[in-house]
């Protein structure tokens, strides 16, 4: 077994001083060369004015349009470590569960920021801490403040309205009511619905995604069903809502309150969450937005 010889005290002190200097320097300096492989954090970085520092993005990043010019370095399940390292990043923004990638970056001495999807309040919290990490605190805080203000404006606008029992669906087999995926009682979709003035019919099911049986839809009897679609080129989506007609006793179906909202902002918990929440609120309470 190899034995590491003890480092002399003077060398150790010098090393410690050098490390401390580096740490102070990195706190003060702005982080250049950021790799962001999560769509939500990429959008945050661009919205807080740090887009020029982003040197690579993940496979699923589509917004803002500037990301189309950037190299892709894999995503949640298949990050390309070799490409990431070859870009000599100053910071890698990754998802919290990417433990392998984290270990590899640690070995390579590359700093990272681990992000996890949670509820709506976590979006602005992430913007603030990511901004501080990248060195654009002021603009990040301004962005977070603006998002929080706009969300509370929406909340205030629908505050006095009756909150319809709402089912928020984000996936099912087209043409049928099989494998209905709906938002449960936790997560940003649930928070968005509550902010937009709806009562989530699955609020008691503490899961982000709930696979709903037709029996559960009938039992929960939502007054409004909102279907979210984020795939591009889903032209048949509107006519596909007819499938709900099979559940005629559901108030939303009987009263023609089944709506379709299309857009990527519903799946990316980033700065566009304000636009998404407002679209949801306008769908649930059109009269609150009528001038």
């Amino acid at each position: 077994m190899a034995v590491v010889p003890p480092i002399p005290l003077t060398r150790r002190l010098a090393l410690a001083a050098a490390l401390a200097l580096c740490a102070v320097a990195s706190i003060g300096a702005e982080t250049r060369r950021v790799v962001s492989i999560i769509p939500a954090t990429t959008e945050m970085l661009f919205a807080m004015g740090a887009g020029d520092r982003v040197v690579a993005v993940g496979s699923y990043d589509r917004f803002p349009p500037e990301v189309d010019r950037l190299p892709r370095v894999g995503a949640l399940l298949d990050p390309n470590v070799e490409r990431i390292l070859s870009l000599k990043p100053g910071l890698v923004v990754l998802y919290g569960t990417q433990t392998d990638l984290r270990a590899q970056l640690e070995r390579a001495g590359v700093p990272y920021y681990a992000y996890v999807h949670r509820g709506l309040p976590d979006i602005t919290q992430t913007i603030r801490s990511l901004g501080a990490r990248v060195g654009v605190d002021a603009s990040a805080n301004a962005l977070a403040d603006r998002i929080e203000r706009q969300l509370s404006n929406i909340r205030a606008r629908v505050a006095d309205r009756r909150r319809p029992k709402t089912l928020l669906v984000f996936g099912r087999e087209p043409g049928t009511l099989r494998n209905i995926e709906a938002s449960g009682g936790v997560g940003f979709l649930h928070d968005m619905l509550e902010t937009a003035g709806g009562d989530d019919v699955l609020a008691d099911v503490k899961q982000q995604a709930v696979t709903m049986s037709t029996e559960l839809v009938l039992a929960r009897a939502p007054e409004v069903i909102v279907e979210l679609r984020y795939a591009r080129g889903d032209a048949a989506a509107a006519s596909d809502l007819r499938a709900w007609g099979a559940l005629a006793s559901v108030p939303a179906v009987r009263n023609h309150k089944v709506f379709l909202l299309q857009g990527e902002e519903f799946v990316v918990p980033g700065p566009r969450v304000v636009a998404a929440t407002e679209r949801l609120a306008r769908t649930l309470h059109p009269e609150a937005f009528a001038r």
Partner: protein, 338 residues
């Protein structure tokens, strides 16, 4: 002929016993669920159907689900019996020849590339998954006719393993190419679901299933002989080549229809045949009807547990089949060998 009378008595007893179990499951399962419903309201014609929540829960949410369970369970179990006999391998299952991996690939392609528009009220997903299993069958069939004197079960098994691995790899490739939300949907599909929500899917699957079951109903004696070995069967005057083709195609059609209706539900096709053999013995005249009836009842019970035992969100039926069937099978084995 006392022997023949004895056999007839056993067939009657088997069909009556397992039939009663299946009938009880079919009748009782739609009455149980997470939502309390009143039977008097379910059949009350004075309430318009559109306003009758109890009737909708019973006729839309539960009954098609129970019917799908009985069809899928029976088909997978019978297909398992046929594959195990013809391949002379106790580990053979409806998936051995790559059929359900082929079916899964079809469904995953349609989900990932958004080709899933409904055609005449039937989702493209089951259609594509049936097509996937048909392609797998075509390849296996081509191999079975390439040899002049029947098919070597070893060759078929190896071909099945290779085909399964190949389709599995394509499946993963498609998922990597796809969006993560599509991958999520694909994974959910692969867990299996019997909540079909309409009778159309059930009726569409019933047609090929009944044809295949009818073809297999003529095979029990052949299956008995073939499971002893192709040479033994030929010496008793069986056209092994022809019987093999009928069996392979019918069992494959059963598998493809079952997977397209309920997704790739594991365990039923491999273990139900063994459970049934432990109870009624190896004679295929008993094993086939018993497997059909027990497979259906078993899946109804598993689906019932899946929808009531895990809170309002339920659980994928595919997880319950192995959770319940695994210990049950081990218990049967222990009892037998003690």
């Amino acid at each position: 002929m006392p022997e023949r009378n004895e056999l007839r008595r056993r067939i009657v007893a088997t069909v009556a016993g397992f039939g009663a179990l299946a009938a009880a499951a079919c009748i009782l399962a739609p009455l149980v669920g997470t939502t309390p419903i009143a039977l008097s309201r379910v059949f009350d014609r004075s309430i318009p159907f559109a306003d009758n929540v109890d009737a909708q829960v019973f006729f839309i949410a539960r009954l098609p689900r129970v019917l799908a369970a009985v069809l899928v369970g029976s088909s997978l179990a019978v297909a398992g019996v046929v594959f195990q006999a013809f391949l002379r391998n106790p580990l053979a299952s409806p998936d051995t020849l790559g059929l359900s991996t082929g079916a899964t690939l079809g469904a995953v392609i349609v989900i990932t590339f958004h080709l899933d528009t409904a055609i005449l009220g039937v989702s493209a997903v089951p259609v594509a998954s049936f097509a996937g299993s048909a392609i797998a069958l075509a390849i296996v069939y081509a191999m079975s006719v390439a040899r002049r004197h029947g098919t070597s079960s070893t060759v078929l098994l190896l071909a099945g393993v290779a085909l399964s691995a190949f389709f599995g790899a394509l499946n993963r490739l498609v998922q990597v190419v796809g969006d993560f939300t599509d991958t999520f949907r694909a994974i959910r599909w692969m867990m299996g679901s019997l909540d079909v929500g309409s009778y159309t899917d059930v009726v569409v699957a019933l047609v090929p299933m009944s044809a295949a079951l009818a073809a297999i109903a003529a095979l029990p004696r052949v299956l008995d002989l073939v499971s002893l070995g192709a040479a033994a069967a030929e010496s008793r005057g069986v056209d092994v080549k022809r019987a093999e083709r009928v069996a392979l195609v019918s069992a494959s059609v059963l598998t493809g229809s079952a997977v397209s209706l309920g997704g790739p539900i594991p365990f039923v096709g491999i273990i139900v045949p063994h459970i049934v053999r432990l109870i009624v013995g190896p004679d295929h005249r008993l094993v086939l009807p018993a497997a059909a009836l027990f497979g259906g009842s078993f899946l109804i019970v598993c689906d019932l547990i899946a929808r009531v035992a895990f809170g309002p969100a339920g659980m994928p039926v595919g997880a319950v089949t192995a959770l319940l069937g695994g210990p049950f099978f081990l218990w049967l084995l222990f009892r037998r060998f003690r």
